[in-house]
Symmetry: C3
Subunit: 344 residues, 3 copies
């Protein structure tokens, strides 16, 4: 019997099944420093313990996306090793800050299964939870992927498609305990723009671009213990190119969005997202954002912006997202929909 992990196939999942993913991970100052080396990350709350303390926290938490990538990476061997495509995200919420020294593990619950009409694959929906060393859920999100069947002849399961919220309701956003922007230092944060300065429909071009390198995306993807072959092995794809982990593009775009959204400090919800086109080394990643919605929160002084974050590899960008047929334009890499907290 082979001792290596062949991954799971569509037939291996059952509604209600809970998979405890392997390899818990302690994240600390080293991961933080690497995050700053890998991405042009400058949101002050994740850069300075002092700034974070001034915002009512005990220190600077690990970047929200460090938590996301760490939790996500653990699911890969069980969920997406045989995936054909990563189809979507929904109902993502950050529930507790992750502090340096915390240990994260992941669990996924199967909440949907629908075989494709070709009989060769199916769509799997899972709700993944990131859990810290004392058993608290720090993060949860739903994702769905297209997974190969082991055997086209095996019978289709009863189709179950979960009813997912298109957007996390503002009332469901969890504000970190103690967060307080009443003494917020806009000079140190880098920009003067408050919640009230952003208008729904406003588009912000983040100006900067980063040309990405093979070494960088592999360092990042390994750091999150994501093992998908296509990111590392030039023989894994027919074109001999290493596909860049979609999360690398998310982090790059989010970091670039500092320029215009420096005060959108904390990501608290992931409403949806699509990896519109593959990203490869040599691409120059740029980003723009659109303000999709605004909401007040239960904490005075803390507002929420719902933002569309688009990463693209085009020129200066006319903020084109989709073409006439409703398909993503070829230069678009990412279309992400999230809520962030910002001083009112």
């Amino acid at each position: 019997m082979s001792k290596t992990n062949p991954g799971r196939f569509f037939e291996d999942y059952r509604i209600g099944q809970v998979i405890r993913h392997a390899v818990p991970r302690t994240v600390a100052e080293g991961e933080r420093a690497l995050y700053h080396a890998l991405y042009p990350a400058r949101h002050a709350l994740y850069s300075s313990d002092d700034f974070a303390a001034n915002c009512g926290l005990e220190g600077s938490p690990m970047d929200d996306l460090i938590a996301f990538h760490t939790v996500f990476g653990k699911t890969v061997p069980d969920i997406s090793l045989n995936a054909i495509a990563n189809l979507g995200y929904a109902e993502g919420r950050w529930l507790l800050p992750v502090w340096p020294g915390d240990t994260l593990r992941s669990e996924s619950e199967v909440i949907g299964l629908k075989e494709n009409s070709n009989g060769k694959s199916g769509v799997l929906y899972v709700r993944t939870r990131g859990i810290n060393q004392v058993g608290e859920v720090v993060l949860e999100f739903v994702r769905w992927v297209m997974v190969r069947k082991r055997d086209a002849a095996s019978p289709a399961p009863e189709a179950v498609v979960p009813d997912l919220a298109r957007v996390v309701a503002p009332a469901d956003l969890v504000i970190p305990e103690g967060l307080d922007f009443s003494d917020y230092d806009f000079d140190l944060a880098g920009e003067p723009h408050r919640w009230g300065d952003y208008a729904v429909g406003e588009i912000i071009d983040h100006v900067d671009g980063v040309t990405v390198e093979e070494a960088e995306h592999m360092l990042a993807t390994r750091l999150w213990q994501n093992t998908a072959k296509v990111h590392f092995d030039v023989t894994a794809r027919e074109d001999g190119r290493r596909l860049i982990y979609g999360g690398h593009v998310i982090s790059m775009a989010r970091a670039l969005s500092f320029n215009g959204l420096a005060n959108a400090q904390m990501i608290v919800a992931l409403n949806g997202g699509a990896h519109a086109n593959p990203c490869f080394a040599g691409d120059t990643v740029r980003a723009w954002s659109e303000v999709l919605d605004k909401a007040e929160t239960a904490v005075p002084g803390v507002g929420a912006l719902r933002l569309r974050l688009v990463a693209h590899k085009g020129g200066a960008g006319d903020h084109r997202l989709k073409n006439a047929e409703g398909k993503y334009a070829p230069e678009v890499l990412l279309d992400l929909d999230y809520w962030a907290l910002i001083p009112v």
Copy 2:
């Protein structure tokens, strides 16, 4: 007088001589994070403080190979700066865990000298010890290298070739104090295979591959303060290629071996090893292992596997190691023989 280090030549060594190597190094969370970024390392005991505590340790120690590379790197300016070849390893033992915050230095004792028949070089044998900040030996190993003579005319020393154990005896393996696998979580570790599930002679193909980049191996090699020119300077070799530090291949292969050997958590002895062929950027490193032997240890529940770890740059691999003449096949990069601890 030149103030720079010209390295030592064969004539500069004497049997019994002890060389205190320079530049002690404190290793901590930063080195751990970089190790996870540089290699697809997933052994749970080095990934999670919580998992390690559950195995009876005070937390997650530094990876065994972080200790090895750090101790090895310090020897380079004194031992192998003028080396023609790194010939072998023997009698390597990990004696104490290295904890985040520990400071390591190295000492080497000359235990063998044998001039080559060409009169231009000789073989030097040293026993190297890694020592922590309170003077405890944490690691020891023997290695031998071929070193240039400064002057072919200088007389040959009396030949001394040490009598080295072909394999570290199971009774000599040191089990870290407190190590206890009685509450071991196989789900979190990533695989169900115990000591009893492995058979002598069994071969495990580790499936995954990593295409290596110049930036990555240089980051790693510098991290261990290994200064050998050939790794960094395109003008150092006639072919204009940077030779990848053999230790980078060791760590890459060991990390890849997770897939099939996830529970072979701790390396406790290095029986031998050969860097069979040079590795260069662009090579895709793969690995397979062979179970060479099995042993019980003095600690109930803790077993030992003697493993051959082979790194290669070939295709899927027919586990070919040597050709008909007994020479390593050209795609083989590394042939390493070590003992690891695994739950019984």
Copy 3:
């Protein structure tokens, strides 16, 4: 109104103006580890807590150049985003060690303004201070840059050119509190050469070279949160090449200078410096130093060397710095003038 930072133009500065730069940064073990991965850094005082403690410090401080780059990086969005050239440094002094866990921010005071005769740009002089979380100034330096005018028609300000010291006087060097070389371990430091062994006019060729990669310089430059486009975006320059941050060359050269200056442990002053020619990926960086001066300090046993550190991309190097017309030779990358502390 655009929310992104367009940078400041020459007209935006006034003599006496103090700019508080954004994004404070906590630096710790992660940044230290990355520094060792990015550069062949081996000065023992920054490598080992134990060695530093033996030199009277509470532990190993962050490398002087980590402090410099962190403080410098914060100034880029306000000072040099529209700079045409980085012209010089003067009066740099390290005033307090930066410890792991410290948070740094930067302030710059405008001390000089002189419009160029072409009316399109001007020279801006600023004194930048790095400030820790308790408000202490840890580092200060003057730099001057050529900055574009927004509008060539805007009137020239009254020209103010500060009177800058050509060299920091030895009496103004600040020796870290407690520094004591009386029990200094030359074996562990790596070389036997003391202050008394260096002669003014002596030139030391540091022998080693490092061929630099795109991924590495971008990791470094992001780590210091330096956002200048030219380092990251292949479309930013007409030649499609990413310019390597000058500070990357400074750190590379300083690390290479270990070989011959292993005991020149701490940088305490920056007298001046020029980025003589651009550095690009693929260049092999080498270095040589010249002893420009020697001084005793107020602390017995602690001497100071004034050193010229030259980075170049040439061959073995004839230590050529400038050509007959007084222009830097094309292979010279950096000409840096600094004071370092060394055991007497």
